[in-house]
């Protein structure tokens, strides 16, 4: 252990040889999650069309807005993002620990069980079987399935960490462990704990879950991946260990207090609203430390970002993370909230967090990990670049136009002389832009799926490789840059 102040750290990797069955669960989780990404995004696209033609697909109860919306939300959150994060961590954590995944069998169990749960969820959500709480729509028997998968995933990751060869744990490991611990509580509280309460108590617990699902599940998992990938892909040591400590310990203390900011001006005690607002503002600390750390790591190497799709995803993801976490504290302020709350502004904001930031980190992870696992270059760098530009431009159109439309609609709501229906009609051009942006995002997702699938299947002997071969140069020992 050489943790002197002069030592710069890079994620460590073993020089081990590959074994049969290695990374099997990582591969399976990644490819299945990308399918859910495409499926859930297509559902989102259909929903966007419904805003323009409310009768579109409206002849059957199963395909009405109220049934398809939870399918889109649960599909992207769980089917795609949580699953791909789990798959990528099956790849990353063993490499940071200098060993193999604790159990590939348990790993495959989580892949199969989780995909069964999500498949069942398609039928329950469209069938109108719902708990009636946001992000917690899945019925109790599927909640149990998710919980079991998560606990087994946790055991697998903790098992890997406890048998690690490198004593010092890299930042990505802290965030992963944190996420596993927090998620267990947050998910249980949001899906089972809410059954014990009614009314405002239940609403408070519901939004405790909703907010921390993003803040203490997808944020730490996404940040863990970026902490691994950015130094790796730039071959630069992490900018600052101290900043990563401040970022990690402040987020673990601050985030959990903010759930009630979903009810500002609502029927909930003012003191709790104020507490949520104060802690929301304090979130600037953990976010900015992480951002400075990421940008600092890439500092001086920005020409790489121009050429490399993985770094493009990582650095735009970082920028979207910065923006989304600047919006968050601002939206929590009472004066701003009076305008933005309940409008499409929030929809733009949420998509920037889950898609723009954390999905971008995950896509970067797939582009990085899959070629290394199959020991072939990525099928097509050009395709990866165009997928990026589709997702990036589509995302930007989606976010920005909904902020503008939502903000103006919020101002209109605050003018009682404007009839409500006029504020709905006003949104039409912005909903058109959302459809346009969504179409670009969906196109990018399909290209991404095709690229990753072909990377698995193509024969390197007969194909002309367009990307750099993933070398085991990755396995060079850490602390290269002392």
């Amino acid at each position: 252990m050489t943790s002197s102040k002069k030592t710069k750290e890079t994620p460590q990797e073993p020089a081990g040889t590959s074994e049969r069955g290695q990374d099997l669960s990582a591969k399976a989780f990644i490819i299945s999650s990308i399918w859910w990404f495409v499926i859930s995004t297509s559902v989102g696209l259909l929903l966007a069309i419904k805003f323009l033609w409310p009768e579109f697909m409206g002849n059957t109860p199963e395909f009405t807005f109220g049934r398809m919306r939870p399918l889109h939300v649960n599909g992207v959150l769980f089917g795609w993002l949580l699953a791909v994060d789990m798959g990528l961590l099956y790849y990353v954590i063993p490499r940071l620990c200098g060993n193999r995944l604790y159990s590939e069998k348990l790993g495959m169990f989580t892949v199969i069980a989780f995909n069964l749960v999500i498949t069942a969820a398609v039928f329950t959500t469209l069938g109108g079987v719902t708990q009636g709480l946001e992000y917690a729509e899945l019925p109790w028997f599927l909640d149990i399935g998710v919980t079991v998968v998560w606990v087994v995933f946790g055991i697998n990751i903790f098992g890997t960490i406890l048998t690690r060869k490198h004593e010092k744990m890299y930042v990505a490991i802290w965030y992963t462990m944190g996420a596993i611990v927090w998620t267990t509580f947050v998910y249980t509280a949001g899906n089972f704990g809410t059954e014990l309460f009614t009314g405002v108590n239940q609403a408070n617990l519901n939004w405790f879950y909703v907010h921390n699902a993003v803040g203490l599940i997808f944020t730490p998992l996404g940040v863990a991946l970026a902490y691994y990938l950015i130094p790796k892909q730039t071959q630069a040591p992490l900018y600052s260990h101290k900043l990563s400590m401040i970022g990690f310990w402040t987020i673990s203390f601050i985030y959990v207090w903010t759930g009630a900011h979903h009810m500002i001006h609502g029927p909930i005690s003012q003191w709790l609203q104020t507490v949520a607002i104060i802690f929301s503002a304090m979130l600037i600390i953990p976010v900015w430390t992480v951002i400075v750390n990421f940008f600092g790591t890439v500092s001086g190497k920005w020409d790489l970002v121009r050429r490399d799709p993985i770094l493009k995803y990582l650095m735009t993801g970082t920028t979207f993370y910065l923006l989304t976490c600047f919006q968050g504290p601002m939206q929590a302020l009472r004066s701003v909230n009076a305008i933005t709350s309940k409008t499409d502004w929030v929809v733009g904001h949420a998509h920037m967090a889950v898609f723009g930031a954390f999905s971008f980190f995950a896509v970067a992870g797939c582009l990085y990990a899959v070629p290394r696992m199959v020991k072939k270059p990525l099928y097509s760098q050009a395709l990866a670049n165009s997928a990026f530009w589709f997702m990036f431009s589509g995302g930007l159109i989606y976010f920005v136009l909904l902020w503008i439309g939502g903000f103006i609609q919020g101002l209109q709501w605050n003018d009682p002389s404007i009839p409500f229906i006029d504020t709905v009609k006003f949104m039409a051009p912005f909903w058109w832009s959302r459809l346009a942006g969504g179409t670009l995002i969906f196109t990018g997702a399909v290209l991404f799926l095709y690229n990753i699938s072909r990377t698995f299947t193509y024969d390197p002997a007969s194909a002309t490789a367009t990307g750099p071969t993933p070398t085991e140069g990755d396995t060079k020992p850490a602390k290269a840059a002392v």
Partner: protein, 185 residues
């Protein structure tokens, strides 16, 4: 700082650290208010338990995802109370209070207002208005983006429609806020 450095190397320290940090905020914002905020569990005077039909209606409201587009809260904003919003016929809507929600499980407060807020919609429109509106919202509100729900009205002789309207007519009625009992049936 030394304590933090320990967590770099010891997984158990880290585990205890992240759990402890989380639990402080978690307990303070969910369990403490549940114990101390009596107003959150004390029903507003005049609250009646839902009838069987109203319960079925609320289940339909939940099943069809009405709550994704309609909030049920008059916030502490003047505009929310206006007669063009949750108010009606020259009367401003009273602000929603926690006591009005105690019997609601799941709560239907909502996060998005694609359509108007429904916290005080009970008694605003009569049954025949709702029937036409569910058949096709645009017959009554040109420019509406609400999907039509004709099967609620047609299936089983409109039993689900009847139940749903029973529930809708309770919304915001715990407080008798309109003079002369001026509510539609």
């Amino acid at each position: 700082m030394n304590l933090l450095k320990k967590t770099d190397h010891n997984a158990m320290y880290l585990f205890a650290g992240v759990l402890g940090m989380f639990l402080i905020g978690g307990v303070m914002t969910t369990i403490v208010p549940a114990l101390t905020e009596k107003s959150w569990r004390q029903e507003t005077k005049g609250t009646r338990p839902y009838t069987a039909a109203q319960k079925r209606g609320k289940a339909i409201y939940k099943r069809e995802g009405c709550w994704y587009c309609h909030t049920q809260q008059v916030r502490t904003l003047e505009a929310d109370r206006a007669t063009t919003r949750s108010g009606w016929r020259g009367v401003k809507a009273p602000i929603s209070t926690p006591g009005e929600y105690v019997r609601d499980k799941p709560h239907m407060l909502g996060t998005r207002r694609i359509g108007p807020d429904l916290a005080r919609v009970g008694g605003k429109y009569d049954r025949s208005w709702h029937r036409t509106h569910f058949m096709n919202p645009r017959h009554l509100v040109p420019g509406s983006v609400m999907p039509p729900f004709p099967w609620l009205v047609k299936r089983d002789g409109g039993k689900e429609f009847e139940d749903l309207v029973e529930y809708i007519q309770t919304l915001g009625r715990t407080i008798n806020w309109r003079p002369d009992n001026d509510y539609e049936r």
